[in-house]
Amino acid sequence: MTKTGTFKLKSGLAQMLKGGVIMDVVNAQQAKIAEDAGAVAVMALERVPSDIRSAGGVARMADPKIIKEIQKAVTIPVMAKCRIGHFAEAQVLQALEVDFIDESEVLTPADEEFHIDKTPFTIPFVCGARDLGEALRRINEGAAMVRTKGEAGSGNIVEAVKHIRKVTAGIDEIKKLLISKKMKQLNDVAIKYSVPVELVINTAKLGRLPVVNFAAGGIATPADAALCMQLGVDGVFVGSGIFKSQNPAKTARAIVDATAHFTDASKIAKVSENLGDPMKGQEISDLVQKMSDRGI
């Protein structure tokens, strides 16, 4: 019997993306540049996050026309974003046959209480998380992949680093509890996170998140990507960092190289040379809207 939309297939696609770079693109031409540079997937958007910030107003799912154009332009997987809790937008994205849906805090949330129940969908979901509790809640809702929220469109890596470290610290804590067989405390953690205790125990046993975990939100240079990889993520999303840089094609290739060779500093030095100006970036304290506070 043939089965589709199983969790193995959903999480399996995420496995195939590991070690790779997923790039935000807003048209077919950018999508081609990303594919040629060696991106493992593209995120089809109407605006990159830094433009969403400056445009203000309500940010929604992209126009299906843009998504279709990008799907036509490339052979690598195409992802698209829907608003947190907006299951109707997610249904539309599934009808468009995108390969992955990002239920994203970069767009204006549609539901302040609930995320989408991701289990009935055939298409896998990736969701943002700032700490282990958020990550496990999203996995429990059916997410097949997790990414840090970081701070999208900021060009500032500090929030992504904070979120990677928090997830790691959370896993270290439950690992210790499991080794010393403190089942009562593990149960308390599960209650605090609002997830089943089995998920907490399974994560502690694995010593990592049970799904693929990427960094996102603020990656602007090859060294940023290498930093996140060395901190233990499986790959990186680059949003505004590529097409808001002075030389997108070269920056894209350099970030792909740095992600593949994240421990090879001399290689990263070589690809970082003469890239031109990276995206400008912002201090987190100067931001009017912190996107990462959305959808916890």
């Binding site: 019997m1 043939t2 089965k3 589709t4 199983t6 193995k8 297939l9 399996g12 696609l13 496995q15 195939m16 993306l17 590991k18 070690g19 790779g20 594919e35 040629d36 540079a37 060696g38 991106a39 493992v40 997937a41 799907q71 490339v74 052979t75 690598i76 997987p77 195409v78 599934q94 046959e97 995108v98 390969d99 992955f100 055939t122 298409i123 896998p124 792909v256 190289d257 593949a260 060779h261």
Partner: protein, 197 residues
């Protein structure tokens, strides 16, 4: 039995799953081997076999060429490719991108993303010469033609799902699905070929 060096191309894709499955397969067979993650040219030297994982074939090709691995990969005598890895081994590829190249080692024609996008990805119990098991097809390619020196290992409704090619001292194995996610039998089969040389 002599210790062998098994490489797994480690730039991108599910190379960790291949490393784990190869470890398990070595244990089951009681073979001794070094598993080497390959990202640079020097790691290709002294390999007895190489596994090319699932991932994105365009990304894998770009990184292999850029890092100077491409020509040396063609000299490896035993290669196993799953999904994207199968595409890299094929002589002819349908629906490739403008700049896409392959190693052109195996006499097969393969169609990229032949079943469509992720919505068409599927799991299925399949029969193979090596045994029956659940196979996972993720944005899988389809083998559309095979040369006369190709031996078929798995076939369903006239569709070739896995096959091998022996050419003097060269041996290549491909599967459109991902055994590394469900079974060790393909890795055991590949290792037996290497260890019996």
């Amino acid at each position: 039995m002599k210790l062998k060096n098994i490489g797994v191309l480690g730039f991108q894709g599910d190379f960790v799953e291949h490393i784990e499955t190869t470890k398990k397969a070595l244990n089951k067979l009681s073979f001794e081997g070094n598993i080497i993650m390959v990202k640079t040219k020097d790691k290709l030297q002294n390999l007895d076999g190489l596994i090319i994982p699932g991932g994105e074939s365009t990304t894998l090709q770009t990184l292999c060429i850029k890092n100077g691995l491409w020509e040396d990969m063609k000299r490896i005598k035993y290669i196993y490719g799953t999904c994207a890895g199968a595409i890299l081994l094929a002589k002819k590829v349908l629906h490739k991108t403008k700049n896409q190249q392959t190693l052109e080692l195996m006499d097969i024609e393969i169609d990229r993303n032949a079943y469509g996008g992720q919505i068409s990805s599927f799991e299925k119990k399949i029969k193979t010469k090596l045994g029956n098991f659940d196979a996972v097809f993720i944005r899988s390619p389809r083998i559309t033609k095979t040369g006369k020196n190709i031996v078929i290992i798995a076939k369903e409704r006239n569709e070739v799902l896995a096959c091998e090619q022996r050419d003097k001292d060269k041996y290549y194995l491909v599967s459109c699905f991902h055994p590394e996610l469900t079974t060790t039998i393909f890795h055991e089969y590949f290792l037996k070929k290497i260890y019996s040389q």
